[in-house]
Amino acid sequence: MYAFDYHKPRSLAEATALLNANPEARLLAGGMTLIPTLKQRLASPSDLVDLGGLPDLAGIFVGDGEVRIGAMTTHATVAHSAEVRAALPALAALAEGIGDPQVRHRGTIGGSISNADPAADYPAGVVGLGATVVTDRREIAADNFFTGMFETALEPGEIVRQVRFPIPEAAGYAKFPNPASRYAVAGVFVARAAGGVRVAVTGAGPSVFRVPEMEAALTASFTPEAIASVLVDADDLNTDLHATAAYRAHLVGVMAARAVTSALES
């Protein structure tokens, strides 16, 4: 690890000021990605601004037809929240499937979506549910938030405060994990709401993406059979040691069907 200075601001304003004053500073949330990255010397921030001292950023609120999750809320908190389990069980299940128990005790939703790992689980939930990302300066619709591999619409110094998930009629998440890292090789979040069905895929492409053909088919008939003949184009998908693009394209179909089944069962 390269050396850096450490700050633990007591207010969002202080955090913002620190980021503005140090262009090479990085935010530290749960650290589940950032710290391994630092250990491998793949990043050399001048300063770390730890959001761990801002309790207002953590917490869950369910009401007004939505689930609001503070940026510093851990995956374990979401997974075990009785309110989330009741209102949006698919999201609790998604959180329960991230990493391993120790990662879930530290990793946060804000950290996860700000990092925008193409194989992370939360982006599928955020896009699949059509959530709104609330930052210290604006609200960003999920469809506009993830802009590429490890890229988001966040501006320099912008801090995610909360994610607001509208509660759907039904939702499900299914993923096929990488056997080594346990990240998603292909993870599909399916949600049916008054406005229609959304299908979001993580792990398979350079960034989370929606599958309009599946959404249309599922809006017409919300059953696994409805998407059986929808083929995802492998051209834009990832190939690595554990999965070819063709395999990923196939898995997207399988996981989407399982997500629909799960949504129907919940």
Partner: protein
Amino acid sequence: MGLMSQPIRRTEDGRFITGRGRYVDDVKMEGAAIGYALRSPYAHAKIMSIDVEAAKSAPGVIGIITGAELEAAGIGHLGAAFPASFLKNRDGTPRVDGDRALLTVDYVRYVGEPVAFVVAESLNAAKDAAEQILVDYEELPAVGLIDEALDPGAPLVWPQAPGNIALDWAQGDEAATDAAFDRAAHVTRIDLVNNRVVVNSMEPRGAFGTYDKVTGQYELYATSQGSHPIADTIAKRILRIPPERLRVITPDVGGGFGLKMSTFAEYPLVLIASEKFGMPVKWMSERTEAFQSDSHGRDLKSHAEMAFDAGGRILGYRIKTDFNLGAYGLGFGPGIQSVVPMFVVGGVYKVPVVYNHVRAVFTNTVPVEAYRGAGRPEAAYIIERIMDLAAREMGLSQDEIRLRNFIQSHEMPFRSYVGAVIDSGDFQRNLHDCLRQADWAGFPARRAEAEKRGKLRGRGLAYYIEKTAGGASAVVISFTPAGRVEVGVGTSAHGQGHETTFAAIVADKLGVPFDSIDLIQGDSIRAPWGGGTGGSRSLWNSGNGILKAADAVIDKGREVAAALMDTAQDAITFEEGAFRVHGTNQFLPLLEVAEAARAGSKLPPELKARLEKGLDSSGTHEEKGDTFPNGCHICELEIDPDTGKVSVISYDVVDDFGFVLNPLIVAGQVHGGVAQGIGQALLENCLYEPGTAQLLSGSFMDYTMPRADDLPSFGFTYNEILCTTNPLGIKGCGEAGTVGAAPAVMNAVLDALWDKGVREVDMPMTALRVWETLQRAAAKAAV
């Protein structure tokens, strides 16, 4: 009832479960510095220059060692364990090992080869400095895969090894084997890949060295499977000092699996650095570094052919194997696919003739050495895969083809064509027991039920045998003034529980309290000489050696007791830990006799002079006679055709390890071994990139280690068919699980996929590979 054969809970556990184990990284020394190896990022390159000047003055840096400096100082090189005369080409010419300096000077030949050794006040400082070392590499074409290296015109790893052939070895009678095939009614042929794996003991390698400039003594703490072989190599071959000037201590070790048998460059480097810079120096591998710098395992391709008569009986067996040696022939590397498994290539069958042609191939990859089983899992894999396929081809059941070819228990001792003398065993019984244990007969119903759930269920059977024994290690039993019994051994446990098992033998044999016994191991000065722990031989060595040493203790004790109780020696019996005067109630406990002998004051002068060391005695088990652990494995699994994911549902083993000293520990060895076999068959794969020989699976993020949710619970039982060639009657159990597992799993995978038209499966059958295999089979069926 004695302690031997009891499932005694391990005494060593106490420190491990409370965090009080002491591994190399836990050793503290005042003023110690940290060593860090700068490694090659290229698979093959010429080093034009190395400039360490800027790095030397980086903050916290104490100094930097380069290869040129070591050459100038006359430091020796690493090498293979087998003498040139012992292992040579089939035409009698010598093999090529290459020449491996501790730090390379002119060329790098694999990604991760150490180029410079930085010593600094902290690891961070050492890494900061290493980034300032300027190495001018001229990149050269590289080969990482066996096929690439064998390609005509492939770049050569070593100019003296044309075609990248390091060793061209064979066993058996080629002409006689060919003749057997000429009269065969049926020939089964198979091509198999045995995938490369990374050992990944949970504790990475590490070393802590000190040099005392007053006494000229070197001391090394190392993660090893035996202090003496490492001490010998470093003293004689590398530092070229008298052996008594180096003490190697092996503290607690977090798993070895063959990896920690060898001497690695970093071990002498910490000693050299300590001498040069005047402080203790520690080097600990990080995991990602371990992927590039630990020796790897397996990595071979075989074509095998089995000739059968019309009754399904084996007439002859022909194997052609090419194995990846890596860039250097180090340690046991050149022998692992040749001489190490040569006595078990024919498995448990009456194979009249064999021709086994093996070539070691140089590549620009990290050297390949021992990994649990070392050659024997590979041999078992080939023969059990080909037997499985032959049964399918000839319409025989998996048990029937084996029963027709087994060496029968009444034929033992059986001298096999390959020269092994199998002393004992009952393969038929173990097979039958395992079929029953796994409910082999009930499989069709389970398969039908799985089919209803959309799953493909398969079962696989394998019968393995291995050969273990050899490598004498001494035992010394001594008695301390505090009334404790010290048992010094030349073996070196790193998870096997020797503190418990060896103490049980001593307690039973000498009748001394179990908790009065201390095991002295892993110390090249304090413990008697030995080859360490590897190859499932420690109980054979030290266990039988303890019996010998204990007999000597009793003989001396009888003499002393006779003198103390003023009677004739032949009037004395030794029972339940005491010397008793026959026909009287007079007795002396052994520990009292030992103390009297140690003190000497009550002994007649002649006896006192003769027993200068009291009852302390040594013993070495040197008798010839191998042990042949063997057993039956049955794996049942299900495949999700939608994703290709394989789930092992049940796994059964019936083993014959001869006398089982501690059933709890033996079961643990089998469980762990099977897990490594399942891991290799389904999950683990060490991949180098074609064309560049860059390591692709370089961390736990990419290399799939078996986890708890990847594995089932195991059904393990055993039949104790005593080994006739050693007093304890034991057969080695350490590697057996791994030897039998891979073929059982792969036969089950093939069974699950057979009805889909799949005929070839290679390890590892990851979800991706299963899915692709099913896709290909479906495409073929559609044509």
